[in-house]
Amino acid sequence: MASHPPLPGSGVWNRRHVIDSASLTLDEVEEVLRTAKSFSHILSRPVKKIPTLRGKVVVNMFYENSTRTRTSFELAAQYLSADAINFSVSTSSVKKGESLIDTAETLAAMGTDAVVIRHASSGVCQQLVNYFGDRICVLNAGDGYHDHPTQGLLDLFSLKERLDDISGKKIVIVGDILHSRVARSNIHLLKLFGANVHLVAPSTLLPMQIEALGCTAHTNIEEALQDADVVMCLRMQMERQRAGLIPAMREYIRFYSITHERLQKFCKPDVLVMHPGPMNRGVEIASDVADNKEISLITNQVTSGVAIRMALLYLCLSTPAERSGLERFQADLNERMAAV
């Protein structure tokens, strides 16, 4: 119990929303990571519940299919004792033509404290914040190809758990960068901590001027993987072949799949491999890589995801004043820990 890290105080966090990764400062991200660290201990306890957000209501608005992210947010809210409601496309009035703003207005009128949004259109979270201001807390769970800040943060958290300091590390993101909000989020956040971010993809899947975001782009996998410390795979979708962006999945696998041979031949010996899931085994990542607990951080990423989302819900749904008066919270936690 004594080893338990101190809980976050009022700190630097003043946001009501998390809608992108690019605008997060180093101090803010460190606060999120510290907060997540303290929450991560709860996940390994038999009673995974603290009363921090009791009485708060979190609505998951998922306009795109997602099992993991939605479940992760839902559990994060529940572990903090918030009430979590899922609102998905098939059960909503979206199909009746109600606009996103009308839907959010309705939810706000019902007393919702936070909405977690996954949407196929880039920028909808920004638009909601433009419209609602601080009336409702908006958390981006992935918008179009724009950003997926909780994924970027959980990737960072997982990496720092293993490597502590990532500055100067060569981190290679492999795959469909053009359509990837995960890649954009990671580029911003990894750079903040001084990592050397490299991208590798067929040129048709590299967006224009991507290097202006502060990374190095490659089309040759061998060159990209040379002395890599970390390899992040992205999901490769069949529809890219249908859209004429790659000639055939078979060819993509030949040139870009992350296999043991490739890792051994080019990367550092202690290379780590990550994947945001869901994986296409045998496409962007070989099964023996994904399942090798020595090098794969994939299950750690999932666990980190819950802690990160707890941290963001907590930070956005409490005021700095509430967080600075944390004695009660700390006592609560200690009491729970003692009971275990």
Partner: protein
């Protein structure tokens, strides 16, 4: 009814006139332009000696009034009200209405709709029936009924062969084909300029080459057929380079760009506000600079707004779902004066040429673009120093989708006379209200 515009700076590019003079409007005609017209000759005298400009009524050859078919966005009446508030007395409306302007009755419908507005509204009729790109419209007949140009604006003439035929056929009548330069296969599902900001924002991009590849094609078709091509709303530096070269080679082509391409860039899309979404898209700063240079060296002939009204509901959708287009009639002059006159880049004569005499010349609008004795009295009075803030709620247009919301502009039309009638007067205008006498 005689109105004397006293002591303003009279700027008429058609005669290269730029001098302080008096202008007498008598009924529907300009009856005198002289250095000292006695006040007794007029019923009303408007004192413009504090630096106002007196110019031929402005001409916008590229607007969408959504009539017929979409009165929620705009009507001919509200569009015309927006026009005169912006200093325009002549506009050309694009044919992508519902139904499409592709037949004699539709052209006649537009002239009837225009009558009560008091301004000159000319149809640009469709090149192909229903804008389908397959069968040519009766270009000769539509021309005789008053159409002044032909375009499938909103979409390109995708078939090079159809464009060839249209150019060959329209050449007989010496009328321009207005080319909306876009290769839709290159645009794909793009919603903004493809470049740094589309990458940053994760929005699908529209590459510059989607425009320039079509500009290149139509330049070659103009060369081959000898037909007249007018390029609508040019947005990219590559297109500018192609047009400059083709003009140097002596081809009969003309081009327009819009105030928003000259004042704004793709960086404006950062807040995902669909009021910055149009097609072609706002492009990079290097494109904006190339367009400014093209204005200065005459590669671009015309400023047109591509005034494209959409309802607030439509424009409050997600960026990728919202319709393309912005309104422009009420901000065009202010943007041009702010960016080109007050910056010292262009002389007043050049700006008025771009916005009045040159477009009138290209589309052969005989009663527009020339402030001369005996001419129809389409006259705009401009206060070039008037600073004002763009407030969409104050627009005469039915729609509010401006990318200049909240910007402070310097320079505005303060009186707009159309056929001798004062159809617009700015509150800050000098002299007494004339509207009551209309």
């Amino acid at each position: 009814m005689k109105t004397l515009l006293k002591g303003g700076r009279v700027i008429n590019p058609a005669t290269n006139l730029d001098a302080v003079m008096d202008v007498l409007i008598e009924d529907n005609l300009v009856s005198a332009i002289e250095t000292n017209i006695p006040a007794e000759r007029a019923d009303d005298v408007i004192d413009l000696t504090s630096g106002h400009w007196v110019v031929p009524g402005l001409v916008d050859v590229h607007v969408h009034f959504r009539d017929p078919g979409n009165p929620d966005k705009e009507t001919t009446l509200t569009g015309a009200a927006a026009a005169v508030a912006g200093g325009f007395t002549t506009v050309c409306v694009m044919p992508n209405t519902s139904p499409v302007i592709d037949s004699t009755p539709m052209v006649q419908y537009l002239f009837n709709a225009a009558l009560p507005t008091g301004i000159q509204i000319f149809p640009i009729a469709a090149v192909t029936r229903g804008l389908e790109g397959e069968e040519m419209t009766p270009i000769g007949t539509l021309l005789q009924n008053g159409a002044v140009g032909f375009s499938d604006d909103g979409r390109p003439v995708a078939s090079a062969n159809m464009m060839r035929k249209a150019l060959e056929y329209s050449k007989m009548f010496d009328v321009p084909i207005v080319c909306h330069a876009e290769d839709c296969t290159l645009c794909g599902n793009g919603v903004m300029h493809e470049g740094y900001y589309s990458t940053l924002l994760g929005l699908p991009g529209i590459p510059s080459v989607a425009e320039s590849v079509m500009v290149a094609r139509d330049i070659e078709l103009a060369r081959f057929t000898g037909g007249r091509v007018h390029f609508a709303h040019i947005s990219s530096k590559e297109s500018v380079a192609l047009i400059r070269k083709a003009k140097a080679e002596g081809l009969d082509i003309t081009a327009e760009t819009t105030p928003h391409y000259l004042a704004l860039t793709d960086a404006c899309c950062q807040g995902y506000d669909p009021d910055f979404k149009m097609n072609g898209p706002l492009r990079a700063e290097s494109d904006r600079q190339a367009l400014i240079a093209a204005i200065e060296d005459g590669t671009i002939d015309v400023i047109a707004t591509d005034h494209a009204p959409h309802t607030p509901d439509e424009k409050s959708m997600a960026f990728d779902c919202a319709p393309n287009g912005v309104v422009g009639l009420e901000t065009s002059l202010g943007v041009m004066l702010t960016h080109f006159y007050h910056s010292g880049r262009l002389q007043p004569l050049d700006i008025i040429r771009l916005m009045s005499s040159r477009p009138a010349e290209i589309f052969k609008l005989k009663a527009s673009g020339n402030l001369g004795v005996g001419q129809r009295a389409d006259v705009t009075v401009i206060d070039p120093e008037l600073a004002w803030t763009v407030e969409p709620a104050q627009f005469k247009s039915k729609s509010r989708n401006t990318p200049f919301n909240g910007q402070t502009l310097k320079g505005k039309a303060v009186y707009t006379f159309a056929n001798g009638r004062c159809l617009f007067q700015q509150a800050e205008a000098p002299g007494k209200a004339l509207a009551s006498k209309v």
